[in-house]
């Protein structure tokens, strides 16, 4: 297990550094390619944003350095019956404004996270009830058993009910909101850092919260975050010592940074799968010259797109070898089956399939793509545009910063896309999340959260049945078989085009020790910086 080893090494390094940690006095400067827009923890379900807000807010549970679920705001929990989870809350926790943390806040957050406009609705099942037993005990009553309920909760952050009500922030801020809400510009969490100032897209300053209930492992006084979109500028900032941590290091510059005397690159496989989706739900594509019908509804067209994309070439050229082409919609560390082989790249077959489907002359479609989210995202999309052009599908590329991209294509924006590229790490680190959130039908009356991030609108009831069985199956071998069957169904439907898992690449100053997590969340509360 490669992840295990690199995690172990990183953790060890972190612990060694810890032994000589002086008092909190350091300023750590961090630059990411993307900006932090909203501070509202329910606006955008995206790892970078969740990582940022994970310094400020906390969930009932958290993920440790090895990605295991550990207690956080909930001290312990039990399941007295399969449909009832009981959480015992910590009694020594205060929000940054001094409000005590109680069961009311959990009940409030459970409502808010499922309210309209939230991008985290699937965190708590729609038909689940959160019931306050006493000030420090909360029960979650489910209608059907869910053995992995807490697996998603490390990024379901608990908010202060009193604060939200006092500041007109009871409703979550939707990603597509054009005017910022109070909660998107201010925070009141329980986490290790408070936000001192926040200028979206410019600079965010975090200050250590002295009243944190955990003993800090970091030695930081503050974290200064600046988004630096230009990859060369980001690398230059790291090499010149202007910033201490950057994410990501552009693949072309990894060697250069490694060779430098004052910084290095932490690398490892990431659990994120990058894939291409095609809108197969609408009867007519939103952005295409074909009117009255949707070419992507035809399975032959989807297969043609799949076969026209050469992932190995993308790996060798765009990713410079730093990606693992993927047959499945999950990383091999999460689920692997030797029977799942990626169908071959075959542009001639693709052309023939298109001709059979009645599109011998191709068609035009717009592709949505982020340009500051994944490693080389816009370059990958450009490469795909070229590959599809060769089978006569003329793609108009709309590559834009993630804030605009997500606001347009995600559920709060109305899934406004015809063809897109997205990356997904299941927050549960389990296939079920992908089967449910990414590939499940969007219009399931019994489960409105199903398919929340299924921008393509892929829908196969047989697939959903398998996904439901996966959720409740306790026997690992049987469960794996069900997962495999589900993926086979979706592959037969050519539902999505999985591309690859990208490599993690964090640029870190030699003065800084930190822990790299395989979910690519930069958690600086484990970072220590040498005295200057």
């Amino acid at each position: 297990m490669l992840v295990g080893r690199s995690l172990f090494a990183a953790t060890l390094a972190g612990m060694l550094a810890l032994a000589t940690t002086p008092a909190s006095s350091q300023t750590l400067r961090y630059a990411n390619q993307g900006e932090l827009k909203s501070l509202d923890p329910y606006t955008l379900n995206e790892s970078t944003t969740s990582a940022h807000l994970g310094h400020v807010y906390e969930g009932l549970v958290a993920r440790g350095k090895d990605l295991k679920i550990i207690p956080a705001l909930a001290e312990s929990w039990e399941t007295p019956e399969p449909t009832r989870w009981r959480f015992h809350l910590r009694k020594d926790v205060k929000f940054h404004n001094g409000d005590p943390f109680t069961a009311d806040d959990v009940v409030f957050s459970a409502e808010r996270v499922r309210a309209k406009g939230s991008n985290f609705q699937s965190r708590v099942p729609a038909d689940a009830k959160a019931v306050k037993i006493d000030d420090y005990t909360v029960d979650f009553i489910l209608t059907s058993p869910n053995p992995i309920l807490t697996a998603l909760w490390a990024t379901w952050y608990i908010m202060d009910k009193k604060w939200a009500e006092a500041n007109d922030a009871v409703a979550p801020t939707p990603a597509a909101a054009t005017t910022p809400s109070y909660a998107s510009l201010h925070e009141n969490g329980t986490g290790p850092f408070m936000i001192e100032s926040h200028q979206p897209g410019v600079k965010t300053v975090y200050k250590a919260y002295p009243g944190w209930w955990r003993k800090p492992e970091h030695n930081l006084k503050e974290i200064v975050f600046t988004p630096i979109a230009n990859p060369a500028t980001r690398v230059a900032a790291l090499l010149s010592g202007e910033v201490d941590v950057i994410e990501p290091v552009p693949v072309q510059d990894i060697e250069r940074v490694k060779a430098s005397s004052n910084a290095t690159v932490l690398t490892g496989p990431e659990l994120r799968t990058i894939f291409v989706g095609m809108d197969q739900a609408r009867d007519e594509l939103l952005y295409s010259n074909i009117k009255g019908k949707n070419p992507f509804k035809d399975v032959r067209v989807r297969e043609a797109v799949y076969r026209a994309i050469d992932v190995d070439l993308i790996k060798n050229r765009v990713m410079r070898g730093l990606s693992t082409p993927s047959a499945l919609m999950v990383a091999p560390e999460i689920f692997a089956s030797k029977d799942s082989i990626r169908p071959k790249f075959d542009p001639d077959a693709a052309k023939k399939l298109l001709a059979d489907a009645g599109y011998a002359d191709g068609f035009e479609v717009t592709m949505d793509c982020p340009n500051d989210r994944y490693v080389n995202d816009a370059a990958i999309c450009q490469a795909i545009v070229g590959m599809l052009a060769r089978i006569n599908i003329k793609v108009d590329l709309l590559a834009q910063p993630k804030a605009q991209y997500f606001a347009k294509v995600l559920k709060p924006g109305g899934y406004k896309t015809s063809l897109y590229m997205l990356g997904w790490t299941p927050d549960t680190l389990d296939s079920q999340n992908v089967l449910h959130d990414i590939m499940g039908c969007r219009d399931d009356p019994k489960d409105p959260n199903r398919g929340e991030a299924n921008l393509a609108g892929y829908c196969n009831r047989q697939f959903d049945e398998l996904a439901d069985k996966v959720l409740v199956e306790a026997d690992p071998a049987k469960r794996d078989l069900l997962i495999k069957q589900a993926f086979e169904v979706s592959m037969k439907d050519w539902a999505y085009v999985p591309l690859h898992q990208q490599a993690l690449a964090w640029g870190v100053s030699k003065k800084v020790k930190l822990t790299q997590r395989a979910d690519n969340m930069v958690m600086l509360y484990w970072a220590t910086k040498q005295e200057e």
Partner: protein
């Protein structure tokens, strides 16, 4: 100057030499022939224009057509280096785009935006300058105060502002051609002031001269007097500004594109190419940024030298 009021006789017209002959005999051409720098600059500028016009013939691929880009051919270094490959004289970028073809096509965009920007800003500036100078009074005050306010901002800031507004109005749905139009508009609006002020100054001098009074006496309408009689006498300074502004407009376009708010990567101008290439400098892939940068520098330098010469040649004090 008196041509407008003294009609030509038939004999005179027949005896007059052709325009080409007259151009060769002019002071301007004499000064041109004597300035080696001007001749070289003119030749280089002409060459760039020709290269841009004939880009489709000269390029090995159309870099704007994704179907012609082969990812297989990406990141090839220039031909004379160890890893060079024919036919990619100046190497290729990450998408397999031939750098030379991209420069030629990018130059088209840069020159097109530059020329259209100059025409737009020139037209606007001349019109407003003529109006302000000819009518004077409140009209003059209004136009010139607007110009003063605009002069207190750097032109690039105004271009960015207009660009930003256009983007928020039209959303991100702008395709390449409308992006080009927005750029022309933004550049045009940022550079009209200089024309307006210059033209207004010339008009103030000219409008009290007898030929204008004569034209007014025979009852010609104001627009005709302004355009047919006053305007031709302001062409010298306007020409100088236009030449220097062409270089400025191209640079502004390149700056906007470099900042990411100009031409998109699917239809790159020189500025966009420099932005793309900038990301590969640390990796040692210098050719992706170096050659577009050199091309832009050479183009701007030659146009600027030409503009400088023109300014000196038309300045009577320097003769």
């Amino acid at each position: 100057m008196s041509e407008a009021v003294v009609p030509h006789t038939a004999e005179k017209r027949a005896a007059a030499p052709g325009w080409f002959r007259r151009a060769l005999d002019s002071d301007l051409f004499y000064s041109f022939r004597r300035s080696r720098i001007a001749m070289i600059a003119a030749a280089v500028t002409l060459l760039f224009f020709l290269l841009a016009i004939f880009a489709p013939v000269l390029s090995v691929q159309n870099p704007f057509d994704p179907a012609q880009l082969q990812l297989m051919n990406s990141r090839i270094s220039p031909l004379w280096t160890a890893d060079g490959q024919s036919p990619f004289l100046l190497g290729t970028d990450e998408q397999g785009r031939d750098v030379l073809s991209a420069i030629l096509y990018g130059m088209r965009i840069s020159l097109l935006v530059g020329v259209l920007g100059v025409v737009f800003s020139g037209g606007l500036g001349i019109l407003l300058g003529l109006t302000a100078g000819y009518f004077g009074g409140a009209v003059d005050g209004l136009i010139m105060r607007i110009a003063d306010v605009q002069l207190s901002f750097p032109a690039i800031l105004i271009a960015l502002l207009i660009n930003g507004i256009a983007k928020s109005v039209f959303g991100n749905k702008l395709d390449e051609m409308s992006m080009l139009a927005v750029l022309v508009f933004a550049i045009g609006l940022s550079f009209w002031v200089q024309y307006a002020r210059t033209v207004r100054g010339s008009v103030l001098v000219e409008k009290n001269k007898d030929y204008v009074a004569a034209a007014q006496l025979i009852g010609l309408p104001a627009p005709v007097i302004m355009l047919r009689h006053v305007l031709p006498n302001t062409t010298g300074p306007v020409l100088v500004i236009a030449t220097i502004n062409l270089a400025l407009a191209i640079i502004t376009e390149a700056t906007l594109s470099f900042l990411g708010s100009g031409m998109p990567e699917t239809m790159p101008s020189l500025g966009t190419l420099i932005r793309i290439g900038n990301g590969y400098l640390f990796a040692g892939e210098w050719w992706i940024v170096a050659f577009p940068g050199l091309a832009l520098a050479a183009l701007i330098l030659s146009i600027n030298l030409l503009g400088d010469w023109l300014r000196d040649a038309l300045n009577p004090k320097l003769r």
